[in-house]
């Protein structure tokens, strides 16, 4: 089992990328589990064709404890197990602590032992802002981190912050940076900018997602491009990255 945490600036397309990678890995024949770690709880919505899984925090708010994985998970496209952490009442509580509680709940219910996924993908909100949002990086959780970025300044700034956090955690035996996925916004010299940034932080770029309207097209239909058209260019990009993650493709 390999566990990967996907980080990146808010709005950069982490959920789109994560869901598409989950779908692509499943097409390659792997058993996948995706855990949305964002209070918005919309990470997996395309994998379930719009059907909403009950977020763990919502369930605990109502019932105080959870004794069955069936209550907090849905099996989506191609057998992908979908879980959403959810969050506190807006403006109250602590979202970071919510992620810790979600992970503890999944652990106590032996989610990994029961579902036996080949890959677990954690889709994490934005930056590593506090202990809760660093939870997926801890020993025993993600083995590797992928940062999604575009060539835009603020996106690279966030990516740099995440890299700094990983460096700070070096002596803690936390997850290691696997590489960047460039989610293009079609800004000028984008590829050069991101390539230069990757060089500066000593990280490979493991994938390049070209700007394409087909992502929005399929998302409007509650699907990832892989579910909608597995042969389209975008789907091929995700399949290529998934092959690399699975160790069956070429390094970029």
């Amino acid at each position: 089992m390999k566990k990967i945490a996907i980080y990146g600036k808010g709005g950069i397309g982490k959920s789109t990328v994560t869901s598409s990678l989950s779908a692509a890995l499943s097409v390659l024949g792997y058993r996948v589990m995706q855990i949305g770690c964002d209070p918005k709880a919309d990470s997996t919505i395309n994998l379930t064709n719009g059907q909403r899984v009950t977020p763990v925090m919502n369930y605990l708010r109502e019932f105080h404890s959870c004794s069955s994985l069936d209550e907090i998970s849905l099996v989506g496209y191609n057998g992908i197990v979908c879980v959403e952490a959810g969050g506190p009442i807006p403006g109250l509580g602590c979202a970071g602590r919510g992620i810790i509680t979600t992970f503890n709940t999944l652990e106590s219910l032996q989610a990994y032992e029961i579902f036996k996924p080949d890959f677990v993908l954690y889709d994490v909100l934005g930056d590593v802002v506090c202990g809760g949002f660093a939870m997926p990086l801890r020993e025993g959780y993600a083995d590797e981190v992928i940062i999604v970025t575009s060539g835009e300044k603020m996106s690279l700034y966030a990516a740099n912050n995440i890299k700094k956090a990983l460096d700070n955690f070096e002596n803690r035996n936390y997850a290691k940076l696997k590489g960047l996925i460039m989610n293009c916004r079609n800004i000028e010299n984008e590829e050069e900018i991101v390539t230069q940034f990757a060089k500066e932080i000593d990280s490979p770029i493991i994938g390049n997602i070209p700007r394409s309207s087909s992502i929005q097209y399929w998302e409007e239909r509650n699907m990832t491009p892989i579910q909608g058209d597995v042969n389209c260019i975008i789907s091929c990009s995700f399949l290529e990255i998934a092959s690399q993650i699975a160790g069956t493709g070429k390094e970029n």
Binding site: G131, G132, N171, N173
Partner: protein, 394 residues
């Protein structure tokens, strides 16, 4: 509102159970707190603290440390203590604030272990769970980290697992229990939760049997059964029958290497219908009290209930886990019990039913911990007999 306690005080929390289990082991115990949790353990949950040389520390966590997530000060303090002492291990223990901010004790242990080369164990105490959860976790950590691999067994030897004062009381239960075991022809290699030092604990793999004297010791005993092939018996030798059959049960268990959940091998169904009772205690101790009431006094119907975790394999139909003092009050008022055995503080919850006081430090803290209650072997029967009606006495 069910969980509000009007009569009972807050029970001993998880960090106290964890520290109590490790108290005598020559380790550095550090509770990551502002001081209140550590003070709670040392002043109210650990009778051995007064006059002891055990190293129990508070990290002195302050608001700003929690808000900015600065755990470097914590690491440096511990490194300093380790450098200045010859303690054998470090235990990092949580409390409510680290729980809320998500302190990663495993990562801190990794850093301290790397810099000091001293073994570090951790426990994510939250201050919400009770002492038994912490003690159970500590005993399991001991079993996984400190026992030396050894194929040799010492003939007729036992370990006592789970003997913290929180369950067994403050009247030197280890000495009485060891004396009882020695008289039965067995030697005690180590007493977990008692006063054994780490060197004795490390030899535990050589025992032929584990005697589990509280529910907290069960997980460690099961681990040792699987890892070292040591069978276990759960129970405390309370009463005349237990004293009589103790040696036989231990001997049979060692002989066939099959674990048992009772010390008394009498047929409990052959009771004399002399009464009904409800025991409120740790589950293992409660079960032993039940065996004593049935075997020595002919009780016919005895249930065990506990505010602390109960293991389904140790329960019989009718046994109940209590979620609140309301739960106990309802149980007693809806039942028909001749006597209740439990901590004296439950008196307001049991109406007119007779109470046989059996102090439990995890419930009543220091209020009764100087009471000298002796209950191993025949002393247990003598004690209960004082409170029972003449017709109970067989």
């Amino acid at each position: 509102m069910d969980n509000i306690s009007v009569f009972l005080p807050p029970f001993s929390p998880d960090y106290s159970g964890f520290c109590s289990a490790l108290f005598s082991l020559d380790g550095i115990l550090v509770i990551h707190d502002a001081g209140g949790c550590t003070g709670n353990f040392t002043a109210y949950d650990e009778p051995r603290w007064f006059g002891s040389s055990s190293h129990v520390y508070s990290s002195g966590l302050r608001e700003i440390d929690a808000v900015i997530g600065d755990d470097q000060f914590f690491i440096e303090k511990i490194n300093k203590i380790v450098r200045e002492s010859d303690n054998r291990f470090v235990a990092l223990i949580g409390s409510p604030v680290p729980t809320v901010i998500g302190t990663d004790f495993k990562a801190l242990a990794h850093i301290i272990r790397t810099s000091t080369k001293v073994p570090v164990i951790t426990f994510d105490a939250n201050g919400i769970d009770y002492y038994d959860v912490g003690a159970s976790s500590a005993f399991l950590a001991i079993a996984k980290n400190f026992i030396l691999e050894s194929g040799e067994k010492i003939k007729n030897s036992v370990n006592i697992i789970g003997a913290t004062p929180l369950d067994l009381g403050n009247n030197d239960p280890e000495r009485s229990l060891c004396s009882f075991i020695n008289d039965a022809g067995y030697t005690v290699i180590s007493c977990w939760g008692g006063n054994s030092k780490i060197d004795a604990i490390m030899q535990s793999g050589k025992a032929e049997l584990n005697l589990v004297v509280s529910r907290s010791g069960l997980a460690a005993a099961r681990y040792m059964e699987e890892k070292y092939g040591i069978p276990y018996v759960t129970g405390v030798p309370i009463g005349e029958s237990a004293a009589k059959f103790f040696s036989v049960t231990i001997s049979e268990c060692i002989k066939d290497s099959k674990s048992r959940i009772r010390l008394n091998n009498l047929d409990l169904d052959k009771s004399k219908n002399n009464g009904t009772a409800c025991i409120v205690a740790d589950q293992v101790i409660g079960n032993s009290l039940r065996e004593c009431l049935i075997s020595d006094f002919g009780f016919s119907d005895v249930i065990v209930c506990s505010f602390f975790e109960m293991d389904s394999t140790l329960s019989i139909p009718g046994d109940v886990h209590l979620n609140s003092e309301d739960g106990l009050e309802n149980l007693i008022s809806s039942g028909s019990f001749d006597v209740i055995v439990g901590d004296p503080l439950i008196q307001p919850l049991i109406g007119d039913v007779k109470l046989i006081p059996f102090p439990h430090i995890a419930i009543s803290s220091r209020i009764f911990w100087n009471d000298s209650l002796q209950y191993f072997g025949i002393e247990g029967s003598k004690y209960l007999k004082k409170y029972l009606n003449p017709y109970h006495v067989t």
